[in-house]
Symmetry: C3
Subunit: 480 residues, 3 copies
């Protein structure tokens, strides 16, 4: 391609030039430059694309940072599934705890497969205004395959992607699993396993990906200016609406709401496990919000990611403290469960705009999220909607609040935010309602029998008790 003709240059000049050229060659310890008859022979590859070479080095480093960020933070988001599992299985009565474990490991598996076979393409590939592609499966880019096969010249195309194709897929996949996790808690203790899994499949293969196509996929809401950094609406409200539809159709647990208007308390059966679950979620949320910066390969991204983690933590802390105080002053006693849910609500609230730079706003947003969640828990009881773990207040109500709070704290477009909240709400709720209704009317049904509900899903439906050797208090229902 090119050999540098350096005839007419002094020896020193040549030396300097060669030194300069050498300087930009990495990982070539012995530079193959020879002088032949006054013609300095510089290998073509040293000169042919010199700028690409160095630029590629730096860009390649950004590529590695971006990719590793997706993988590390994505792994922490996957860990949130364990958090939901612990939160939910500790919150239900002992007799239904194994079923929650099954539903959660099952939903995570279904979500991962559904997103691989259908969901990701529908959400991100060739998205028009409303949906992406119906192509089956997803995989590395052709440049990546070429690079892995050792083909010359593939590196540039790969580096231009900005991150490894499947690192992004991995990160997006753990998000869809989070959406599905929200549903299982709200519907615990009475919804049958098979219809739950069918709903999960539809949610993770179709419903969530379509919401995602409108927004993160670049569809109409995105074009309108709707902002939802890490998914207060897209992930958490979507899960919350799906849960709300299910709660309305499945109805409350036996004996939860008494004829005289009393609400039967159903305290968590294992408070330690619930607390562990909240800590897992809090940890995982650093990945959820931090990774949603989507890039790490520059100082500005690293700065933004740092601010995000700080805001995430402050909002959660404020959610806890304010919820505890709120429960003390309104209900007369500090309520641990309200405080734990306040952490979740604070986290959900900040998720739409965790990159704000005035950190006290995170405190305010998280605190208000905590109060709204606490109040929402009571509101649901008044409405006789039985949400076992408070998923709807923590994810739907706080999610809506967080999406709107972006306008106040970070200057989002209020109209776009309102439209986004409503559009996602109507779409997800209606589709979920129809699906739950169809399942309820099908021969399958969605509700366990009265006998199974009294006995518990663990013994009645699954055949595996959570703690078979422990002696438990007998439970009775007056209104049989």
């Amino acid at each position: 391609m090119y050999s540098g003709d350096v005839r007419g240059l002094s020896h020193k000049t040549k030396d300097l030039l060669v030194a300069s050229i050498n300087s930009v060659r990495r990982s070539i310890k012995r530079i193959p430059v020879v002088s032949v008859g006054g013609l300095l022979v510089v290998p073509a590859f040293l000169l042919g694309q010199p700028s690409v070479d160095f630029a590629e080095s730096i860009d390649e480093i950004s590529f590695v940072f971006n990719t590793f960020s997706f993988l590390v933070w994505g792994a922490l988001v996957m860990w949130m599934c364990a958090g939901f599992t612990m939160l939910e299985s500790g919150s239900v009565r002992t007799k239904n705890a194994s079923m929650i474990c099954l539903k959660n490991i099952g939903l995570y598996s279904i979500a991962g497969l559904a997103f691989f076979f259908i969901g990701y393409n529908l959400m991100y590939v060739d998205v028009g205004d409303f949906i992406g592609s119906f192509k089956l499966m997803y995989g590395p880019s052709s440049d990546e395959l070429a690079l892995l096969n050792g083909e010359e010249g593939a590196l540039g195309g790969v580096v231009d992607q900005g991150y490894a194709t499947m690192s992004d897929w991995f990160f997006q996949m753990v998000f869809v699993a989070t959406t599905a996790s929200i549903v299982s808690g709200a519907l615990a203790e009475r919804v049958r396993m098979w219809p739950f899994f069918i709903f999960t499949l539809a949610l993770t293969a179709i419903i969530y990906p379509i919401v995602g196509a409108w927004t993160w996929g670049g569809g109409w809401l995105s074009q309108m200016g709707f902002q939802d950094f890490a998914g207060s609406t897209i992930v958490h409200s979507t899960g919350g609406w799906a849960a709300l539809a299910g709660v309305m159709i499945a109805g409350p647990r036996l004996g939860k709401f008494r004829a005289n208007g009393d609400v039967r308390p159903t305290p968590p059966s294992n408070v330690l496990v619930v607390t562990l679950g909240v800590f897992i979620l809090w940890l995982g949320w650093f990945g959820f919000n931090g990774g949603s910066q989507l890039k790490l390969g520059s100082a500005v991204d690293a700065v933004a990611m740092s601010n995000i983690l700080v805001n995430t933590n402050l909002a959660a802390a404020a959610g806890v403290i304010v919820s505890l105080a709120f429960s003390r002053f309104i209900f007369g006693r500090v309520d641990l469960i309200v405080g734990l849910n306040g952490a979740i609500a604070g986290l959900v609230s900040i998720t739409a705009g965790p990159d704000l730079t005035d950190h006290y706003w995170a405190v305010i947003i998280g605190a208000i999220g905590g109060i709204l969640c606490s109040a929402g828990m009571r509101l649901l009881e008044k409405l006789k909607l039985d949400d076992v773990v408070g998923a709807i207040p923590a994810h739907l109500i706080a999610g809506v609040w967080g999406t709107l709070a972006v306008c106040v704290a970070a200057g989002g477009d209020f109209i776009a935010q309102i439209v986004g909240v409503l559009a996602v709400g109507v779409f997800v709720f209606v589709l979920s309602w129809l699906l739950w209704k169809a399942l309820a009317l099908s021969p399958l049904g969605i509700r366990v029998t009265r006998d199974v509900e009294e006995l518990g899903q663990d013994a009645g439906e699954l055949g595996i008790e959570a703690y078979p050797e422990f002696v438990l208090m007998p439970e009775t229902y007056e209104e049989k």
Copy 2:
């Protein structure tokens, strides 16, 4: 600013020069160099600060590494709060386990807010010999705000910081939470919630930040040569001294020490959860010590961080094995709880100097830490000091040992280490003692009533039992 006049140079020379210059330009795919009438026009920004440009690329990469290290390892340190929660809630009797959960999620939240509003500034901003600034709140640097706003020229100032401002804040914040976690375990099962939270606020907003200002903040102990890499003294002993003062003032649990000198055994109520807590702490300690290298953006930092993780693991492993053996030979049986506490003691012991390069020293330091902790657990019993989870032996005694061991293993200044241990000890113990005493004498009091203590804090104070459906053994106290 500058255009390269290349008249008089041959074409080839120009080409070579341009190629050389191009080589150092990153992320500019089409180089805007044109030759106009023999004058090679090189854009000024290509030549004006050529060295800054490339240096910034490399420094920017270091910046990203340093920042990401703080975030990833900091997230693992946050996870230690879950470890303490599990360790403590599994160690107490079932009737007090929910209260431990509440105290721990509460203390983490309080610590995070206190450090944001007051603590960090007091510890790190404008530190003279003794304290930093009383300014409220903390946030990104002005350069970072400019960079996030897209202002030209802000990058250099940001990169010169070495890491994102709030990534450091995040990492330091999770440390103060660790200090507070130590206290809750020692004082479990009898100290009331509100005074505990008030003490936590003082510890995390004032006491710990002042100790930190003396040392990591650059104050008088630091100037004296006091070495405490990741906080054997600064974090762990501080927590231990605060706990000791509380234990002395609160007094032992009902029935712990009998009139005849017997010590009533109070075995953990949930050994699995205690073990899980220790594994969480062990994992989190990789972040605690590894992240305390404070930098990752060079080979020397990466090497040091690797050595640190290895030493951390070896010290913990030695702590376990030696504690188990010690319990077997001294007390006649292998004691799991002593072994688990040995892991903590090994970890605390190595924390003052985890960067040593003769790894067998880590084994020795951890082993001695384990023995001291095991012996310390018995010593406290002899002194009739009731430390529920062995926090004082594991964090205070092993912390002092580790701080002194630095002299032996890594050549620290023995005088400076002694002065540091004593100064921190006196300061924290006296302040904590006064604060606990004031709280005890206040109308609030620090101790639950006898009835609440017998019934348990969960039912008596909080109203939420840890495992309400499980049938528990009745517990009686002879000396009522």
Copy 3:
């Protein structure tokens, strides 16, 4: 060493040259270049090794990435020990759960020390065909020590290593711990503590390192072309063979297999904890397989690592779903425990070749692994082999399958894979069998007495009950 004589070059040329040279100097803000009497004095270090300087920057970045990858992913692999502990302690009957906690924290400690003092050198240092060195202890390289001491010129040698010496040690150490973890579960509820620890010592200091020397250490199997990316055979089958030998010699638990051929069901005592354990393992496996790429410092590594995490997740998800379906169709009910074991089996299956690029293959491999594991659990029962947690089906059977599946999915050499599977199997099984037999015949014995087994190891051998305050169901054995 060298000063650039630039007499005869025009001023502009000099400027351009200097600018070019400057461009490649990092972190030197004021360039010490002066022109003395027409002789441009460029400091020797700017020219003497210019290519090394820049190359080192980029290579140093790769070094940091590679090292950090080992540390972060290694920390997640360490976390798998907590996963095994929870999986196993929740799977056994309550009366033996504390002993499982002790065995697991003990085995992780023993493995770490044994690998430091003996194992690593035997596996990786000066490996011939069969074993490495018998040198005691391991530590940083001499270049690293020089670099940490601030010696000039040490950087190049360190960077050439590719990663920090001890970061690799750390990553390899957590792998040996995984092998040991597999054994404790299979042999739970009847094998005594001391012989178990002795076996663990031999396994982690000798047996596993020799298998490792043959393969990852570069020995005869490696030379033959045997492929096992992250250790389906090397780690998981090795653990499985060691467990199988132990199960055969220790015999089944009392009452597990009745005279009439019935198998006594022994359901997990704590399903939540088992589920948590599986989630921990799943999370940790991202580190196990992802970190086994061994490098992160280039785009091709980042791409491969992303594919690896995706395949790991898909295989596990497929393992869960297929195992649940399999249990439903074959045994008449969805079995949570089979599903959880299916996740492990899927993970083990993909471990030999997680870098494949046709991701549907991961689904297929994991699914078949799940089925083989489910069927294997029944097979072991037919053979009257009592593997308490299903470790042998999940790790040995799925491990063999995964090692062979590499041939199908990624074009491995079938003969080499078969030879590897057999050679490792024979070696580990025979050595383990001999060692377990020797321990069984020694005065120590390997089996607890009938009284201790009935009472439980927690009360009978360890003296610490897992949940001492909880009332448990009495258990009786017909055939006494």
